[in-house]
Subunit: 343 residues, 2 copies
């Protein structure tokens, strides 16, 4: 990144779009026309369905640029939308991005934002095909709409779980939430003493989980290779408890999730201890891990039981059994959603 | 609309989504799954391309709720995106909507916004299939991504105009801009004297053009019925001059636009006179009319010359001739884009 600072009004909307357009590479055969017309043109593969998901990221609500590098923010904006596409069992193909940006932003900052998006497009093999760039009276708002393709009829919804299905989760949980706690604490310390040099090295793992989440496209491809088709799937944005409840509600089932089975990384455990927070609560309600939660028929057990990136955390039950966390002591405790409440 | 006022935090994000979901009707056969999962599922018709366009509408930049009823705003947010789909010669099919909304908004206001969107979805026969609802620290931001379908290879881009093609425009121009002038003036008067009762009756036409623009889907259908396929097309959001320049730039051509031929409605002319504004300038640079600008081969002349809603305003020339407005006196004047500059 150059150190120069160019006000946005120097290049204007069309100038900014041209600069962004020059950095875009198109990879998908289904992209027939990218940025530069009234709309992009997509020619979907035969016998495929399209999935479409949209998300808004709002400064001061979803991100804080005092501790989030803007390039990471660009990457994350794409990753969280790709995660929604993954959660449908689809492969991401195209996306459009709208940004509303206040006058205090420089051209260079916005180029950094798009550089992060470009890196994410490369990582997930997805094409940026259109967008909108406008002013805002306040901070930065990013809107991303992601599209993906899935063979006709093979999209996986939230409502397909059946009693005795296994409940699986990818990766580990709670890290993103604890990363946010670390960043908030360092921000307070910095505001009290701007001379302070934060030492984040021992928190690298959890901070990375917060600032640079990855969509689990790798797992989607692996499940295809294994011939395992989930019966229900959702990505973990609001917290495991909230997402298990979504699956059970839409599937008309109950569930038993075993607290002993919940996957947590050692660095996450250590930070939870430092903050005196219950690691189980961090995993259940922390959110923003962008791991996948999915259910599979019992018959898939042998294919998944030793998978290094997939943990079987429980099973689906009849609706009348309720949705319960089973404690170490074997006690059932009803799961409650304590996801965010922005308003 | 009920008169009650419910704070957004009373119902939360999920409660708001449920309320919105209940008002949604799905009409398109290609909508396989609407709101309520990680993503919507679309099953495009065989042999069709999809077009995708996205727009952000930002409070204080694109709209002012002191004079724009929020239901109209909802309608307009959809109409302007449908207009982009129309400008590709496509039929709109699905859309997703994200809103970021400040705490001062009530549930009832947001329901009114969605009621306007619902009316637009009905008018344009398009399905609201997904979205995102979140808080903002400031005003209201609306993000709309619209999708449409067009038979494979029949999308019309901006770059297909050829010398001797006729340049056509739908409806009439300048009204939306003058409507904005009227509304701004009344707002100033109201702020000076809140007792004032604005009398907008004589301005109904131009105010309506500003607050409730319509996408010209009717013309898209008529052109199909007539068997006329435009060589290039764009919708008029930034002003006729800017859009003619876009077509010429991307087509590698020049153009001659005859000022005498530019279509203006009588009420627009009257308001221009009252504000002492040159009606030609209002038509060229006013913007927000959301009419279609398109080019057709000379052979289409007889089919379009008497069409009540289409005006032939000039023709495409070689690039070396430049892009000119031909005045009443026959003088060529280079066209310049004076579209908005938000930053």
């Amino acid at each position: 990144m150059s150190d120069s600072i160019t006000p946005l009004d120097k290049v204007g909307e069309f100038g900014l779009i041209r600069r962004i357009q020059q950095t875009v590479t198109l990879r998908q055969a289904s992209t027939s026309l990218g940025i530069g017309d009234d709309a992009a043109i997509i020619t979907p593969d035969a016998n495929h369905d399209l999935v479409v998901s949209t998300d808004l990221l709002v400064e001061g609500v979803h991100f804080d640029l005092t501790f989030c590098p803007i390039k990471h923010l660009g990457y994350k904006a794409i990753a969280v939308n790709v995660s929604d596409v993954a959660a449908m069992n689809a492969i991401p193909t195209q996306l459009v991005v709208g940004i509303a940006v206040g006058a205090r932003y420089s051209v260079e900052a916005i180029e950094e934002l798009y550089e992060g998006m470009r890196l994410a497009c490369e990582a997930y093999n997805v094409d940026l095909v259109g967008g909108d760039t406008t002013a805002s009276r306040g901070g930065l708002t990013i809107s991303v709409t992601a599209m993906g393709q899935v063979p006709h009829g093979q999209a996986v919804k939230r409502g397909g779980a059946r009693p005795n299905d296994l409940i699986c989760v990818t990766g580990d949980l709670g890290g993103a939430f604890l990363g946010l706690q670390v960043l908030e604490r360092e921000k307070q310390a910095y505001m009290a003493d701007p001379e302070m040099q934060p030492d984040l090295e021992k928190y690298t793992y959890v901070v990375q989980r917060q600032l640079r989440p990855e969509a689990r496209m790798d797992v989607i491809h692996e499940l295809r290779d294994l011939g395992v088709v989930p019966t229900a799937m959702i990505d973990i944005s609001d917290g495991l408890a909230s997402e298990v409840l979504h699956i059970c509600q839409q599937s008309g089932t109950g569930a038993r999730v075993f607290s002993e089975n919940l996957p947590i990384a050692n660095p996450t455990l250590e930070v939870a201890a430092e903050f005196n927070l219950d690691p189980i609560m961090c995993m259940l309600n922390g959110g923003e891990d962008y791991e996948l939660l999915f259910t599979v028929p019992l018959s898939a057990h042998d294919k998944l039981k030793n998978h290094p990136d997939i943990t079987i955390i429980g099973h689906i039950t009849e609706k009348s059994d309720g949705v319960n966390l089973i404690t170490k002591a074997g006690q059932p405790v009803p799961l409650r959603a304590q996801g965010w409440q922005h308003f």
